[in-house]
């Protein structure tokens, strides 16, 4: 998977690069509008992460260029400008998604995967993880080829974990992924605990191993191997 990161802030660019490389993506970076423009004209990417506020130009113009070139690349806008207009305009121009800064890296990963999945896995749209197979199109979860019935929230939670294997997911990131705005309601962390407990139980009852671990003081993690 080839991803272009367009971001002018060096530390953030480094974090994104580190994070996405660790996740197995082939990454390139651009720190200015000019550089990014050159790269998208020269190379093909599966997805482009575009920061809107660049020192020498507006990221929205990169989206325009990509769309004008009929590029296959998915576009995920990252913006610190809390502008609803930017979001609407970006999506209207054909960007696949919009994420306001600051964001959880896990959330970025979940969105990135969703974009890539929508664009690429034509035909064989499924995720496999150890003894687990998920068909996101049909919201079907199989353990050892046997279907498992999950609630909507449990399913969302499982997909979020599958998008971020081997990563510590904080309760905050999970809560915001599942409830969005309502995440800072007082009991949301208790609900995560309850949903996770149920999810683990359902998976284990179906014969799956316990892959979802609690990391003391931080959150939860989907472990790839014991």
């Amino acid at each position: 998977m080839k991803v272009l990161i367009v971001e002018d802030e060096a530390p953030l660019r480094a974090s994104l690069l580190d994070f996405l490389r660790h996740d197995g993506y082939v990454c390139e970076t651009a720190e200015s509008y000019r550089q990014a423009h050159e790269k998208i004209k020269l190379y093909q990417y599966d997805c482009v992460l575009v920061d809107l506020t660049l020192p020498d130009g507006n990221g929205l113009n990169l989206v325009r260029t990509l769309k004008a070139d009929k590029s296959e690349a998915g576009v995920l806008i990252l913006s610190a400008r809390d502008g609803l207009d930017d979001k609407i305009q970006g999506l209207e121009l054909g960007a696949d998604d919009y994420l306001a800064k600051p964001f959880h890296l896990a959330e970025l990963n979940a969105r990135l995967r969703a974009i890539l999945r929508r664009r690429q896995f034509q035909g064989q749209r499924h995720l496999a993880f150890r003894d687990l197979t998920v068909f996101p199109d049909q919201a079907l979860v199989l353990v050892h080829e046997q279907p498992v019935t999950l609630t909507r929230k449990e399913y969302d939670l499982l997909l979020f974990f599958l998008a971020n294997p081997s990563r510590v997911l904080t309760k905050e990131a999970i809560a915001e992924h599942i409830w969005g705005d309502a995440a800072d309601m007082a009991d949301s962390f208790d609900f995560i605990y309850t949903h996770l407990k149920n999810l683990r139980k359902k998976l284990q009852d179906a014969g799956a191993d316990n892959y979802i671990r609690t990391i003391y003081g931080l959150g939860y993690k989907l472990v790839t191997e014991d």
């Binding site: 994070f19 400008r81 609803l84 600051p102 705005d181 009991d187 003081g217 931080l218």
Partner: protein
């Protein structure tokens, strides 16, 4: 009141005073001139009679008693007024008379010449008729003139007014005012054009400032959050460090949310949300209740939604969303387990009532910024302030009341 109406009012008062004065002066003048004329004629007639009596050596034979009386008793000579009963008109008619004496054949006769005066009422009538006709004509002309003036002369003013009404600060093009040959209006237009240019520049600067402030704050926060998240992934992170790192991470989130809320508040205050379309609030309430389902169930709250009339308000969709979710989240968050939540919509208001803990403190302070029920909570306590600002932006009002009986908290968004 229109400018022209006001001018007319003063003009009318002035005209009325002048006309009253004029009528009085005219009346007195005419009366006096007439009286003088009558006196002159009487005196002339007296001299003529004296001469004739002296020449003829006899008194005039045929006399109309109303015009000339002759008696042997001599009255004191001179002019005087008298009233004589007119049997035909059955009224007393004013007469002017002059008495004098003549000597004929050694006998003194007293003669009195009289002349009827035109009745005062008649004179007044004539004067008033003339004056009122003139005044009526003048007023009629004034109305016509004003109509013409307001249509033609004031037209540039009304055009300016129309352009101003249609002008929106957020629109990209400058205010366009029609050129006019009238100095006052063209000065007004110039001043307005300059004013709107300055205001637009200020507004633009403010808008850019809010956006830059958001960008400049959120970017370092994004860096902090990303780095902390990466730090948390390190397998070699000791357990003693995990807790502080997580606290830092939470604080970063909190700061970022606080800043987002403040940016939203200042954007509402700066009226940066211009787009508005009708939003059906009942549908939105149902959606949001669905999203809060889990939180409601956890507290065993059965929300009751009563839609007396569908409420549709023209507002920015994102703000409508924020308003409803802030109010509902507030009602769930501060509810008690097993409590109640009643939502009522009518044609003008959205009312959310929930049971909760008794209120401590000033109810009017509740909508203020950074008001928190629980001081330790992560939420910045801006939700109700935001809701209040949104109501205010669309000409509405958010009111809070507390009923101690049953500890009901009521928030009513009136539009």
């Amino acid at each position: 009141m229109k400018l022209l109406t006001t001018t007319n009012r003063y003009y009318l008062i002035l005209v009325l005073v002048l006309f009253a004065l004029g009528t009085g002066v005219l009346y007195v003048g005419i009366q006096r001139a007439l009286a003088e004329e009558v006196d002159e004629q009487l005196l002339f007639h007296r001299d003529y009679l004296r001469q004739r009596i002296r020449q003829a050596g006899a008194l005039p034979s045929m006399t109309n008693p109303n015009e000339l009386t002759i008696s042997k008793s001599v009255r004191p000579p001179g002019l005087g007024d008298t009233l004589i009963y007119d049997p035909v008109e059955r009224t007393l008619v004013p007469f002017r008379q002059v008495s004098f004496a003549v000597e004929l054949h050694g006998q003194r006769y007293g003669l009195t010449l009289r002349k009827s005066l035109i009745e005062t009422g008649d004179v007044l009538e004539v004067v008033l008729t003339v004056m009122l006709t003139v005044m009526g004509g003048l007023l009629g002309c004034l109305v016509l003139l004003n109509r013409w003036l307001s249509r033609w002369l004031w037209a540039p003013f009304y055009r300016t007014l129309d352009s101003l009404r249609g002008y929106r600060l957020q629109q990209p093009q400058a205010l366009e005012l029609p050129a006019t040959p009238i100095d006052e209006f063209s000065e007004l237009n110039q001043a307005l054009a300059q004013l709107t240019q300055r205001v637009t520049a200020d507004y633009q600067a403010l808008k850019e400032f809010t956006e830059n402030a958001a960008h400049e704050t959120q970017t370092p926060l994004a860096i902090m959050q990303a780095q902390l998240e990466q730090l948390m992934q390190l397998p070699e992170l000791p357990e003693t460090a995990a807790q502080p790192v997580h606290e830092l991470y939470r604080a970063t989130r909190r700061l970022s949310r606080l800043h987002q809320a403040l940016t939203l508040l200042s954007k509402i205050e700066n009226r940066q949300f211009t787009e508005a379309r009708p939003v059906q609030l009942d549908g939105l309430v149902r959606d949001k209740l669905g999203q809060l389902q889990e939180f409601l169930e956890a507290k065993q709250i059965e929300p009751e939604l009563q839609v007396a009339a569908p409420l549709s308000v023209a507002m920015h969709p994102a703000l409508a969303d924020s308003l409803v979710s802030n109010l509902l989240q507030n009602a769930v968050k501060h509810n008690v387990p097993g409590g109640q939540l009643r939502i009522r919509l009518d044609a003008h208001a959205l009312e959310i009532r929930n049971t909760g803990l008794p209120l401590d403190g000033d109810p009017t302070q509740l909508l203020g910024r950074f008001r928190k029920h629980n001081a330790a909570s992560d939420s910045p306590g801006l939700g109700l302030s935001i809701a209040q600002q949104i109501c205010g932006l669309y000409g509405g009002q958010l009111r809070y009341t507390f009923t101690p009986d049953g500890a009901w908290h009521t928030l009513r968004a009136q539009f």
